[in-house]
């Protein structure tokens, strides 16, 4: 019986088995790695038999097939799932820390810092919706040309790198990403600014192609951290996955 079953491998790859035989052979394959190896090689061989018969299809087939793909949902990959819980402490460890404002001498400096903090909090309160355009009190060019501008380039766990230019004086950061793995249309990258208390506010959505920016994140103050996560398309109000932006700073 064993030998008989193994002898079916050739007929199996040529689709020459009857239905019940095909089913029982496929069941057998699941726990016979030797058979699986043989089937793999014979399947490639059968494919060569097929390739030898390559014939250009009629030209009208192409537009019909392409049009049909726009109407056809694709199967999601097996085993794909978004982390259901946000692991808060791990989120905190992985975020890029904004460099501290260099200490300035005198009372004026202290007042300036207080103002900065106050502005940051105000903006935290008013901005909740992801994807809403920033009503920036500064511009990208002002941030990158600011005298206290500092640049960090960090590799992300989604591949590629993210460059962050921070100016504490401008209370803003400019973020650019390149080379992150592109996401399916059901997902997007989202930019976050996280306060020292662990709260996170959205700074907008980034292109799912993995190449985005420069994007302005306003209301960034010393002690804040900047992160990027993978979220469902349309974004979320708080991070649901572990950030792809790798630390540390």
């Amino acid at each position: 019986m064993r030998d008989d079953l193994h002898a079916l491998s050739g007929s199996y790859v040529l689709d020459a088995l009857t239905e019940p035989e095909r089913d029982s052979f496929e069941r057998h394959l699941q726990h016979c790695s030797q058979c699986e190896d043989e089937v793999r090689g014979l399947r490639e061989t059968a494919a060569r038999l097929g390739l030898a018969k390559t014939v250009d299809p009629p030209p009208q087939l192409r537009p019909r097939v392409l049009a049909a793909t726009y109407r056809t949902r694709q199967l999601p990959p097996i085993g794909d799932r978004i982390e259901p819980e946000r692991r808060r402490t791990r989120v905190a460890q992985r975020w890029l820390r904004v460099p501290q404002v260099p200490r300035l001498a005198g009372a004026f400096a202290a007042a300036a810092l207080v103002v900065v903090v106050a502005l940051g909090i105000t903006q935290v309160v008013t901005r909740h919706q992801p994807g809403v355009a920033q009503t920036a009190s500064t511009t990208i060019s002002r941030v990158v040309t600011a005298p206290d501008a500092r640049t960090e380039t960090v590799a992300t766990s989604a591949g590629g790198t993210v460059t962050v230019v921070v100016s504490a004086g401008q209370q803003a950061a400019v973020v650019s990403a390149a080379g992150m793995r592109s996401l399916p249309s059901a997902q997007t990258y989202q930019l976050w600014v996280m306060g020292p208390d662990g709260s996170a506010r959205s700074a907008g959505l980034l292109s799912r192609t993995g190449r985005a920016g420069p994007v302005l994140a306003s209301g960034v103050v010393p002690g804040d951290r900047i992160g990027i996560t993978v979220e469902p398309a349309g974004g979320t109000s708080s991070p649901t996955t572990t950030p792809v932006l790798a630390v540390p700073v």
């Binding site: 399947r43 018969k53 250009d56 087939l61 793909t69 694709q74």
Partner: protein, 201 residues
């Protein structure tokens, strides 16, 4: 170990491997799995010919072949994320879908009994048919040469099963041999083809 053995068994190396000029099909498929339509257009360019060719070989009828080829190419789009590189090449994946769909169409036809009546003329057509198409492509030349290296029974069994879309009991009936004989001839013949073609799995 076995790979070096295969190289020694190959009758002659032949011209440069076709695979040298092949695009990155696994890469294209991965992009298609993410919904990339442009990547699918490129994939269509590579696979539509083989898919249509296989389907046409089994179904014969041009209109039906077009219909089934369209189904297969759409299934490739739909199931791109399910392609597992560990299980084989993208071409093998695509042509497995194509061949299976074509054979399913044949088997479900109520005219299957009529088809068996046509079997005798098909049998005499088959060798010439393979020769006509096979000579024009490099893959075809290699396949033809390796098929020629099989025994007649191995060759006819494989051609009837794969290109003819017959089940192995039907092949046994057409060739007038025992069921067990057909099964082993098909398997032995394919193993020899595999080694002759230098299939690296």
């Amino acid at each position: 170990m076995r790979r070096t053995a295969i190289r020694q068994l190959r009758p002659d190396p032949g011209p440069a491997e076709d695979t040298d000029r092949d695009p990155d099909l696994p890469g294209l498929l991965a992009q298609v799995a993410r919904g990339d339509h442009r990547a699918f257009e490129l994939l269509y360019g590579e696979l539509a010919g083989p898919v249509y060719g296989v389907v046409r070989q089994v179904l014969r009828d041009p209109a039906q072949s077009e219909e089934v080829a369209q189904e297969v190419l759409l299934e490739i789009w739909r199931a791109a994320s399910r392609y597992d590189p560990a299980k084989g090449s993208p071409a093998a994946w695509a042509l497995t879908i194509a061949h299976r769909r074509a054979v399913d169409r044949v088997r479900s036809e109520s005219a299957s009994s009529r088809r068996e009546e046509k079997a005798a003329p098909d049998l005499s057509e088959a060798p010439d048919d393979v020769a006509d198409v096979v000579a024009t492509t490099l893959d075809g030349q290699r396949v033809r040469r390796c098929l020629d290296g099989l025994t007649e029974l191995q060759r006819e069994s494989i051609k009837l099963a794969y290109y003819g879309g017959y089940s192995y009991p039907q092949v046994a009936q057409l060739l007038g041999v025992a069921l067990g004989t057909v099964k082993t001839r098909i398997r032995d013949g394919l193993i020899r083809m595999r080694d002759c073609l230098g299939v690296a799995w």
